[in-house]
């Protein structure tokens, strides 16, 4: 509940920030837009006024000297809006015609339009409020000076209209941005709330729950997608652990049940010390089997946690395979199986020699177990595409493609090998060793035999993987199952 309120407060703050942001954005946009409109309209109007006074001034200057005063009078008369001013002055500055009482100061006589102020005009007009005009002063050929002016009040009107529109627009823009901010915040809050709900369900144990994804590919959507990917992986791992737990329970219970039954029977039925000893020996064997399972699980755990990295040193792979072959040769011989050692190349690897030997030994052990009597198990060291391959091949039933991925999981035992004794941990241990060394395990082969390869990427410089690394590759090629470190 407290967390929900906290969430609300956060959302509210975010909403406020959003709203302020959007409002400021809208306001800036409106001001810029109106300033542009005003600037455009004003310069257009000024241009228009300038055109008018230029044209008229040119016409008067060009008329015959006697007609100039009349022409000025005509122009001033045709002015229903009372925006035109003009005056004809003598060479000494005395007024000859027009409605301008005096010659305005500071108006250059260059025949070009300028901003100016006309103080005294013969018309109804407030003398304390001089007229702002665009004005032009031109000297006639006979020395007289013609001054024309045009009121720019119209320009001020445009300014007023636009200013009012701007003020109104700003209010509207602010209202709109408030609305937008609230809407966006409300929608974001709704999505966050639904995600909160989903996460709450996951935390209560519903690992199959997923965060809602809208398909809009925005930040929140991508985040939800990533979290969903994580949940999928978690669900898979938890499922695996559950499966492993079941397997462990099975593999431990079976020998323990046997031991218990034997001890119970011999307590009730054993008549002689010899019979008692036979029974207890068999019970002890069952207990040892259960203990072997526990040891193997702990050992895989130990390897997987990377605790063995202190013993890393450069290992001669050829010598490693020779040692492994020597160790297992008598065992193979007993089953009438031969071990063929095929060292096509030389190579070194920075590795834990004992662990590598144990891994190869496990592969050899399996191969000898499953290959038919009279056939050979091949142990080879091959260089291929810049990688060193440690390969163990047998002529046994092989591992079906559908089972290869699961074959490296703890306690997995293929359908065909259920009748062969073993803890089912051999390949899991190999996989753990391979992962610790940053190598790759490839299970291949067809129906007529199994081929398992440990791929060392670059035999000279292969460095052990980070113990935090995990199996990353889940997209398995169709013919081989790969376990990437």
């Amino acid at each position: 509940m407290i967390r929900a309120i906290g969430g609300w407060a956060v959302t509210l703050r975010a909403a406020l920030r959003w709203t302020v942001f959007i409002a400021a954005g809208f306001a800036t946009m409106a001001v810029v837009l109106f300033a542009f409109i005003y600037w455009q309209a004003a310069s257009l109007e000024r241009q228009h006024i300038d055109d008018v006074i230029l044209r008229e001034s040119a016409a008067i200057v060009a008329s015959r000297p006697n007609d100039a005063a009349q022409a000025l009078k005509d122009w001033l008369n045709a002015d229903p809006h009372e925006v035109r001013y003009g005056g004809l002055f003598g060479p000494g500055g005395e007024r000859l015609a027009g409605n301008l009482a005096v010659l305005p100061d500071a108006l250059p006589e260059d025949g070009r339009p300028h901003e100016s102020v006309f103080p005294t005009i013969e018309r109804e007009h407030d003398p304390t409020d001089p007229e702002d005009v665009r004005a032009i002063a031109s000297r006639l050929a006979d020395g007289r000076l013609l001054v024309l002016g045009y009121d720019i009040d119209e320009l001020e009107d445009v300014q007023d209209v636009i200013g009012r529109a701007l003020a109104l627009g700003l209010v509207l823009a602010l209202l709109l941005s408030l609305l937008c901010g609230t809407l966006i915040a409300w929608r974001a809050q709704r999505r966050v709330a639904s995600m909160h709900g989903a996460i709450g369900k996951v935390m209560r144990g519903a690992l199959s729950e997923r965060l809602p994804v809208r398909g809009s590919h925005d930040d929140l959507d991508r985040l939800a997608g990533a979290v969903n990917g994580m949940l999928r992986e978690l669900e898979r791992l938890v499922g695996d652990i559950r499966g492993v737990g079941d397997s462990i329970a099975h593999d431990l219970r079976t020998p323990l049940t046997r031991a218990r039954a034997r001890l119970e029977r011999c307590r009730d039925e054993a008549q002689t010390v010899a019979a008692f000893q036979v029974s207890t020996d068999r019970a002890i064997a069952s207990l040892d089997q259960a203990l072997a399972v526990i040891s193997a699980v702990l050992r895989i755990g130990e390897i997987e946690h990377g605790r063995r990295r202190a013993a890393f040193a450069t290992v001669d792979l050829g010598a490693l395979l020779r040692d492994a072959a020597e160790l297992y040769e008598p065992l193979a011989d007993e089953k009438n199986v031969s071990i063929r050692l095929d060292l096509q190349s030389e190579g070194h690897l920075v590795a834990d020699r004992d662990l590598m030997l144990e891994a190869i030994g496990n592969l050899l052990d399996n191969a000898i177990k499953f290959t038919p009597a009279g056939s050979a198990v091949t142990l080879s060291l091959v260089r291929q595409h810049g990688s060193m391959l440690l390969r163990v091949a047998d002529r046994g039933p092989g591992i079906a493609e559908s089972e290869r991925e699961r074959a490296v999981q703890r306690f997995y035992r293929g359908e065909k090998s259920r009748t062969v004794p073993g803890s089912g941990l051999g390949l899991s241990l190999v996989a753990a060793v391979v992962r610790l060394h940053g190598l790759r395990l490839v299970i291949g082969g067809s129906g007529a035999g199994c081929v398992i390869e440990i791929v060392c990427p670059d035999s000279e410089s292969a460095a052990p993987a980070d113990p935090g690394d995990d199996c990353a590759d889940s997209g398995l090629p169709s013919t081989t199952a790969q376990l990437n470190a």
Binding site: L291, L327, L331, D333, L357
Partner: protein, 225 residues
């Protein structure tokens, strides 16, 4: 009589070990804590120490380190439920002479205790003799009576190890640790098949068998019975 000091906090385990060793002619003294064990080890000077790693208060390795610092060289065997290889290395470097993981077979413990009590076995001799077996360590040759045996290098080392400990029970794990020097336990019958080969080379049909199986435990090399 050989005197053992057992430092073990679990009553039942201590009782089993004590009973088993007393039946076999050992004098066994028992301590349940590290502190008490340390005092007794210094005061009674036993022939051998068996100590559990995890003890209440002062743990087994600290006891061992203290003893070694004080110059006590009594052979010590460390018992532990920690089976990691690094744990084993730590146990040995703290001054342990052997390390045995729980759970263990009592016979395995006995074999290791016997082996520790009979130390040292590595002498400067160049020739080993056990009954009619004759091993020349310089020429790397082995004869049984007049018959020369053709052994592979590994078989030679295996036989040398057994001859140096003739009459002693040697467990599979001991062989694997000492002869192969591997820190892992492979399938249990791997050592057996190697031993089977050696046995067939030692005795032709009609000759008495020198390598005897000790049921469920390991092997013993005997002079001709």
């Amino acid at each position: 009589m050989r005197r053992l000091l057992l430092i073990e906090d679990d009553d039942e385990t201590a009782e089993e070990i004590t009973g088993y060793f007393r039946d076999r002619g050992f004098d066994v003294d028992c301590s349940a804590t590290g502190k008490e064990g340390l005092e007794r080890a210094s005061a009674t000077a036993p022939d051998l120490l068996i100590l559990d790693r995890m003890l209440p208060g002062l743990d087994g390795l600290s006891v061992l380190e203290t003893l070694r610092r004080d110059g006590v060289q009594t052979p010590a065997l460390v018992l532990s439920a920690l089976s990691g290889v690094d744990d084993r290395v730590r146990g040995l470097s703290a001054g342990g002479d052997d390390y045995l993981c729980k759970p263990f077979a009592l016979a395995e413990l006995l074999a290791r205790v016997e082996a520790l009590l009979r130390r040292p076995v590595i002498g400067a001799e160049t020739v080993l003799r056990v009954g009619s077996l004759h091993m020349d360590l310089v020429a790397r040759s082995v004869r049984r009576g007049a018959r020369t045996l053709d052994l592979l290098p590994r078989e030679f080392r295996l036989l040398e190890y057994m001859m140096r400990r003739a009459g002693q029970t040697i467990t599979r794990a001991m062989l694997f640790e000492e002869v192969w020097r591997y820190n892992f336990t492979p399938r249990s019958n791997l050592v057996d098949v190697h031993m089977g080969r050696l046995r067939r080379k030692l005795s032709v049909p009609g000759e008495p068998d020198l390598l005897a199986n000790v049921r469920g435990i390991g092997f013993v090399l005997q002079a001709e019975p």
